[in-house]
C-alpha cells in the first residue's frame, strides 16, 4: 500500500504522519495524533460529531480524506482554548448546554464558524447554522442559549 510522510498543521502545531491514501482526517486525528476530542458517531456525515475546522470552515472529518487536508490549518476542539476557554466553551458550561458531551466538540466548532461570520446571530440563524449537528440529550434549547450568550460575551470583548 502506498504511504507518504504528510505534514498536518493542527491547532497551530506541525505534525508529520506516515499516511496511507485511504485514511480519513478523523482517523489521523484520533488514531495518529491522539486528538480524541473529535468524535466518530456515524461515519457517513449525518450527525456532525466529527466536525473540525479547516481554514476556519467546518468540515466532516469522517468524510474527508486526510490527504486533502495536508498543510492546511486544522482546528480541533483541543485547539480552541487559547490561554483560556473560548467564550463558546464558557457559555456551554454556564448555560448547561453539555450533557453527555459526545456532540459537544462538533457543536462548538460549528458554532465558532457561525460567530466568526455572523457575530450577532438571531436564534433562527443559530438553528440553521447548527442544523447538521445532532444532539440526543439536550433538546437543543440550551445550546442555542449558549451560542447567543457567547456572541454577547464576544461583543463585550471577552476572549
Amino acid at each position: 500500500m502506498k504511504k507518504e510522510i504528510a505534514e498536518f498543521l493542527v491547532n497551530g502545531r506541525p505534525y508529520d504522519v506516515i499516511l496511507e491514501a485511504h485514511k480519513t482526517l478523523l482517523e489521523v486525528l484520533r488514531d495518529r495524533l491522539d486528538l480524541t476530542g473529535t468524535k466518530y458517531a456515524c461515519g457517513t456525515g449525518e450527525c456532525g460529531c466529527c466536525t473540525v475546522l479547516i481554514e476556519g470552515r467546518p468540515v466532516l472529518s469522517c468524510l474527508t480524506l486526510a490527504v486533502t487536508a495536508k498543510k492546511k490549518k486544522i482546528t480541533t476542539i483541543e485547539g480552541l482554548a487559547n490561554g483560556g476557554l473560548h467564550p463558546l466553551q464558557k457559555a456551554f458550561i454556564d448555560y448547561g448546554a453539555v450533557q453527555c458531551g459526545f456532540c459537544t466538540p462538533g457543536m462548538i466548532l460549528t458554532a465558532k464558524t457561525l460567530l466568526d461570520e455572523t457575530p450577532q446571530p438571531t436564534p433562527e440563524e443559530v438553528k440553521f447554522a447548527l442544523a447538521g449537528n445532532l444532539c440526543r440529550c439536550t433538546g437543543y434549547v440550551k445550546i442555542i442559549q449558549a451560542v447567543l450568550a457567547a456572541a454577547q460575551a464576544m461583543k463585550r470583548g471577552e476572549k
Binding site: 484520533r30 457517513t44 482554548a81 458531551g101
Partner: protein, 763 residues
Amino acid sequence: MAEELSVVGKRLPRPDAAEKVTGAARFVGDIKLPGLLIGKVLRSPHAHAKVLKVETGKAERLPGVKAVITSKDMPRKLFNAAFWNMCLADPEKAGEIQDQFIFDNKVRYIGDAVAAVAAVDEQTAEKALALIRVQYKPLPAAFTPEEAMKPQATRIHDFAEGNLCWPHVPFPFGAGEVEKDFAEADVIVEDTFYCSRQKHAQMELDACIASFDAGGRLTVWSPAQLMYLARRKMANFFDIPEGRIRWITPYTGGGFGGRLAFNAEPICIGLAKKAGQPVKLEYDRHEDFVAHDSRTPHKMDFKLGFKKDGTLSALKIKLLADAGAYLGQSGMTTAVCMAFGLGHYRCPNTAGEMTIVYTNTPPTGGMRGYGNPEAMWALEQLMDVAAEKLGLDPLDIRLRNYKKVGEPSALLLPIQSLALEQCVEAGAERIGWKEKRALTGNGMKRRGVGMATMTHCSGAAPLLLEHGNAALKLNEDGSVNLVVSPTEMGQGILGVLAQIAAEELGVRIEDVRVVLGDTDATRFDIGSHASRTTFVTGNAVLGAARQAKGKLLERAAPMLEASAEDLEVRDRRIYVKGSPDKAISVADVARDAIYNYQQNCGQITGECDWESKVVSPPGQACFAEVEVDTQSGEVQVLRLVLAHDIGRAINPTNVEGQIEGGAMQGFGYALCEDFVVDTRTGETLTDSFTAYRLPSFLDLPEIEGIMIEEPDPVGPYGAKSIGESSLVAVAPAIGNAIYHAVGVRIKDLPITAEKILKGLKQK
C-alpha cells in the same frame, strides 16, 4: 429544611462540563492500551437460517489476525443479554428466559452474530471477516407477531410453541372485578393503539475494551449503565469470580436505556481471551441500528369504564409485544408498561394481560420511560375520548381520578408524595388552556391544544433491588473525595451528587471531587436506570456526608470551646450557631484529623449503604399546542409546556436540561422517529440517521419546563426524579392537540402527515 441552602438548588455548572467542552473527556472509544487489537463481528445476512458450517481457516491464516471466534470458543451457556435483571430476586420466576447463545448454530435475525475476529488493525479485521465462509440453510421466517403466531409459522426457538415467549401472562397487581364493573359502567371507551420501535440513538456507539493481565485478571471498559450488574453477569457467563474482574465505565455518550443489556461486551471478552491480548470492539452506526435493541413495540388494547360523573371504575389492558429474535428486556418493559398504565388513576377494578412473541427481527427492549410512554400513548388519549363522551374538560376528568398521597401506587406501596394537580394547574395556566380550548378553527391551518399526564418512579422499589452506596473522605485542604457508582451518561448525576455532599458538609461544589466508574475503587450500586440515582444514590451520599459532618463537628468542638450540637458548617467554615465571626475552617479541622501529632488521628470520612423501600413518584403534565395543515396533513408543534413535580430541584439547570431533552425525544417518538423492518425480508431499512430521522434544531418548538417543588419526605432535600419522565407524556399530548385542532385521532406511532390526511378524508 429550616435554614437556607447554599449549594443545593443552585444553578451550578456541572463538574464534567469543562472536560467535555475541551475534548479532554474520555469515552471507551478514546482509550488506548499497548498491543490493543481491533475486533469485528460477522453478522448474518439471513433472517432465519441454520448455521451448518463456519470455516475460519483462511481468516486465521491472514497475517495480523490474532483471534477468530465462533460458537466453539464461547461458553455453551444460555444467556439473556439484559444485565438489568440481576436486580430481580428470581429473574426466572419474574419471566426472564435464557434464550440466547453467544454464537448459535442458528441465526434468528439479519444482524445476528455468527463469528468475530481480532486483528492488529481495522482493515485487517475487516479483510478477515470477508474470508470467513459460513454455510447457511435458510429457514422460513416470521417478521410480525401476527405472522409468528399463525399455526403454520416457523419455530424461532425450540421451546417456544407458537413463537409465544410469554403467552397470556396476567398482570400480578390487578384488583377487583373488571368484567362485572364493565357491565355496570355508564360509559365505556376502548380502542387499539400501536407504538413504535424507538431507537435510543445515543451519539456514542457501543464499545468495549477487554484485557486480561498476566495473572489472568480481566479488566473491561464499557459504557454499561449498571456496571456492577454487568460485571456479575459476565462473571457468571465466563466462570470468573466477580473479584477477578475490574469493570470500568468512563463517561458514557448517552444511555437512554440502551446500555442495560450487553452489546459488544461478551464478544469482546471472548476475543481478548482467545487472542491473549487486549481487544477493542466498537459498533458502527449500521450495527447500532440492526444489532442493538430498541424500544419494544406493542399492540395495546385498552378498555376503560366510567361512572356518569367521570369516575374511572374499571381499566383493562391487553398487550401484544414483539420481542424480536431474543427476549432481552422486552418482557419486563411490557410488564412495566402495564404497571404504568394502571399507575396514576385511582381505579378499583383493574386487570391486564400480556403476550410476548418472538419474530425474526432485531431484539427489542427498554428505552427511557421503559413502558410508560407506550402506556400513556394509549391511556392518555382514551382519557380525552372519555372526557368528550362525558362532556367533561380533559383536565377535569383527570383531576377527578388522580391518586392522592397515601393511596397505593401501581406496585401497591403507598405514594409518598405527588403534586400532579399542581402540575396540571401550572401547565394549563402557562399554555392558556381555557382560552385556547374554546377556539375552533376552520381555515386551512388549524390550531389546537392538548395535554397528557403521567407519574413515573424515583427508583424501582419494591420491584427491584434498590441498593446504593457512597463513601467520602476529607483531605487536609478541606477538599472531599466522593466515591459513588452511578454511570455519568449525560444526565448530570456527577454534579448532583457533588452538590448534595457539598451542601451537607458545608463546602463548595468545587471542593468535591467525584470518583466513579471503577469497581476496584467504588462500592456497590445498581447504577443508572429507573430514574433512581438522585433519589437512591443521593440518599447514600447524604448519609455518608452526615456521618462525616458529625465527625467534623466533634473534632471542631473543643477547638471552638463549644459542644458539637451547637456548631454549624457553611461555606468552608465551622462556627457556633448565631456567632459566625468566631470560626475555624473545615480545612484546619480536616488537617488536624490527618496530621495530629498528639496521637489523636482519625481522618474524617463517611459512608452509607442505602436502600430505598418507598414509592415517591414524580408527576408531570405535558401541554402541547400544534398547528395542522389540513391540505398536507403536516403538523407543526408550536409549543410544549412540561410542568414537573420534582420535589426539589438539586440543580434547576440540570432539571430543565432533562425536561428539554426528554421532551425532544418525546417529540421524535410522536412525529418523526420510525424504525422500519421490511416485513417481507426482515431487513432493517432504517439503519442510518438519514433513514431514521432524529429531531434536529429545525424541528425545535418552544419548550418550557416548569418545576413544581413540593419536597418529598424521603428524597434527598426532598428531591424526586426527572431522568425519564419528560419523554413520557409528549406523544399523547400532541395526539390530543391534533384531535382538538382537526378532529382526527391517530392511534399508531409515529403520527405522520399521511395518517392525518387519511383521517381527514374519512371524516
